[in-house]
Symmetry: C2
Subunit: 267 residues, 2 copies
């Protein structure tokens, strides 16, 4: 079976299956993107989480939270208050940790070129820890990831280690990160629309007409990318040295990295 | 110029340049891996940081740390004490945040297949946020990333928001994460050696002899991978749904994700 036919089979099989998550539905904030991607012949989503604030109670082994023994005290995809956390903390008897986890989206792509386009969209939108996985049988997946997290231990063996004022302060930061994550999801949707328009023109017009048509889109797309990139540089928080081959991926080293990120090459 | 020649040119250019980081040298804990990779014709490293505990004093804009206005109060690639942090915090007048950042390694690869092999090594060693970037001109890069971080706001507008006991508790966790990161780096080195041995056999033996030779390596490699994977599943902390095409990448959803990670497909 050729690659395209195999991909269509995978996609049909995949989308015909029931949603196996306990929640059983796509998170509201990411539903539009999932729908847009699954409507394209070259993509389908295999998992998504729009971003969440979670409080987990871990049983600790040498300060390493053992996932299999974790209890979930709180999970929300919307902003939450100090009181939500304080109430949930009453059930903690291990080491409770509050986390903000940004969007994670997994998209299977028909071919590497499709994954490259989607990767550029993700980077331009601020999801700078995104990356491609290519399996042995050629299964090509893009993981959309941000660096925009928070992980804060709050209690040890059931004993709260911080004040209520601190939890209030922390929740303001977590909610702010959730809001920023929501903006990046919107940016992702808009960048994705432009990229798909661009691709459909490339596919449907004779070569000599393509540049003209694309140029009609480029300024807006370019502006969006530049806006997105400027925001990324101000907001992102990773240690990524980037590949200037891809749109929106510059060779800049972040200010925080100048100090000790080891570089053997810049281009 | 063919791809291989172009890659050799990039590599020569890159490795002939001075280390542009302020530190000016490769971090001790990752030096062996950098040396091993740069000794292979199909790889060269473009940046690395072995992992670090940092304390940054951010000027806050709507709770968003503006990197360009950050001051570095503390950076260490070794475990550190409560007192190191308390002394450094005396210089904080903005919003100080303590972070543990695990290994980040960027490796340019001659071709996609080389990146796939290195990606599997990274996943098997516990660096589960690793991913491939392929640029428009075919420049292929693997970013080795872990999910094993910590990000804890400590002060707001110069005011300390936590107790010294909490900082002590937090540093124990940060140091534990640094130790776990060091173990993963060792695992990465050992998995990489096995993968390279395996590849050199594949390249240098006639096809009919390869399987026999490889099988001589497989049990040990498989044991390493399984050990690595078991440790990963116990220790990792991300929201990755994985691609069962790659060794060490199973289709399992982590316990923490059953609750609300949206799945439209499992294979």
């Amino acid at each position: 079976m050729d690659r395209s036919a195999e991909f269509r089979r995978w996609k049909a099989q995949c989308l015909s299956k029931a949603d196996l998550s306990l929640k059983g539905s796509v998170d509201e904030d990411v539903a539009e993107i999932v729908q847009l991607l699954n409507g394209q012949e070259q993509f389908f989503t295999t998992s998504s989480c729009s971003g969440r604030i979670i409080l987990i109670d871990g049983s600790i082994n040498g300060f390493e939270v053992q996932k299999q023994n974790c209890r979930w005290l709180l999970v929300t995809h919307k902003p939450c208050t100090k009181d939500d956390v304080i109430v949930a903390l009453r059930n903690a008897n291990g080491d409770a940790v509050l986390k903000f986890e940004p969007l994670v989206l997994h998209v299977q792509c028909r071919q590497l070129q499709d994954a490259q386009i989607l990767h550029s969209v993700a980077i331009d939108s601020g999801f700078r820890n995104s990356g491609i996985t290519v399996g042995k049988r050629g299964k090509t997946m893009l993981a959309v990831r941000s660096t925009h997290g928070l992980e804060v231990p709050l209690s040890h063996e059931g004993k709260l280690m911080v004040t209520e004022d601190y939890i209030d302060f922390l929740l303001k930061i977590a909610n702010q990160k959730m809001e920023e994550n929501r903006k990046r999801i919107e940016r992702f949707y808009s960048c994705l629309q432009h990229a798909l328009e661009r691709q459909s023109i490339i596919r449907s017009y004779p070569k000599e007409k393509v540049n003209k048509k694309i140029n009609a889109y480029s300024p807006k797309k370019k502006r969006n990318q530049e806006k997105a990139r400027d925001r990324c540089i101000a907001e992102e928080n990773d240690k990524e040295l980037e590949n200037n081959d891809s749109p929106g991926i510059s060779a800049a080293v972040f200010p925080e990295d100048d100090e000790d990120l080891v570089l053997t090459c810049l281009w």
